[in-house]
């Protein structure tokens, strides 16, 4: 088994944007769940991505892009990659992929037929969309992977996300514990 070192983190979560914000608000006992949902209300894609990049990405991919860019900058990889892209991979887990795109286009097809389905539907909803987008945007890298499972974890009784569900929203490397700023 190889050792793994986390050298940078990034986060887009219901507690805010950025790993530091996540840690500070989590440590302060703030709950990101409202009415049973964690919406990432502070996240507006076009504040972080171009209109084209935002349109070409489902919300889960937008989260992954922004968090990955933060993580790479945190690792000191923001300006240039220190290794050949062939040695760098983009591995991003997802529960289901672009669920918003799936819902929207399922409804469009149901209401108006298959020709109403967006040409962007498949590239936005596919499970490896986030890994692919991050790879294309950052150059990380030739190896892409998108492990997926369909068993979302429930919040704890207090309404706070459980440790495992909270870390599951920390892209892209999901460290086991919050990193102190």
């Amino acid at each position: 088994m190889n050792d793994v070192v986390i050298t940078g983190v990034g986060a887009v979560t219901p507690l805010g944007i950025g790993a530091t914000t996540l840690h500070e608000r989590w440590a302060a006992g703030i709950c990101g769940i409202e009415d049973g949902e964690g919406r990432c209300r502070e996240f507006v894609a076009t504040e972080h991505l171009s209109v084209k990049d935002a349109r070409r990405a489902d919300r889960f991919t937008q989260f992954a892009l922004v968090a990955s860019i933060e993580a790479l900058a945190d690792a000191g990889w923001g300006d240039a990659l220190p290794y050949d892209t062939g040695r760098i991979g983009s591995i991003i887990g997802t529960g289901i992929g672009g669920i918003g795109t799936i819902e929207l286009n399922d409804r469009a097809m149901f209401d108006n037929g298959p020709k109403s389905v967006s040409p962007l539907a498949v590239p936005l909803m596919m499970g490896n969309a986030a890994a692919a987008a991050v790879s294309m945007r950052t150059g990380c890298g030739v190896r892409r992977s998108a492990p997926s499972r369909h068993a979302p974890r429930a919040p704890t009784q207090s309404g706070q996300p459980s440790a495992r569900s909270a870390t599951a929203t920390r892209w892209p490397w999901s460290p086991a514990a919050p990193r102190r700023p």
Binding site: K52, R55, K115, S116, P119
Partner: protein
């Protein structure tokens, strides 16, 4: 199929291009779509919008012939007028 004015067609196409990320100030009849950073996926979406708005079905061959904003406007105007 109803005939649509050139202004109506131009507005729909311009609004679509802006929604795709093109800079509104750069859009005019002579503007080349590649210069506006409009790619094939955008054109596929534009074809869908045109069909929804004007009932004009554009084939991939039609779309391949569109180089400028004016080409798109003229093609839709021609198809709606001839229908």
């Amino acid at each position: 199929m109803a005939e649509h004015s050139s202004e109506q067609i131009e507005k729909v196409i311009t609004d679509s291009l802006v929604s795709f990320g093109a800079n509104a100030d750069d859009i005019n009849r002579d503007a080349e779509l590649t210069a506006l950073d409009i790619d094939s996926l955008d054109l596929a979406e534009l074809s869908q919008i045109i069909e929804e708005q004007f009932g004009v079905e554009l084939t991939s061959g039609d779309v391949a012939e569109i180089a400028t904003v004016g080409d798109a406007i003229d093609l839709v105007a021609e198809r709606t007028a001839g229908a």
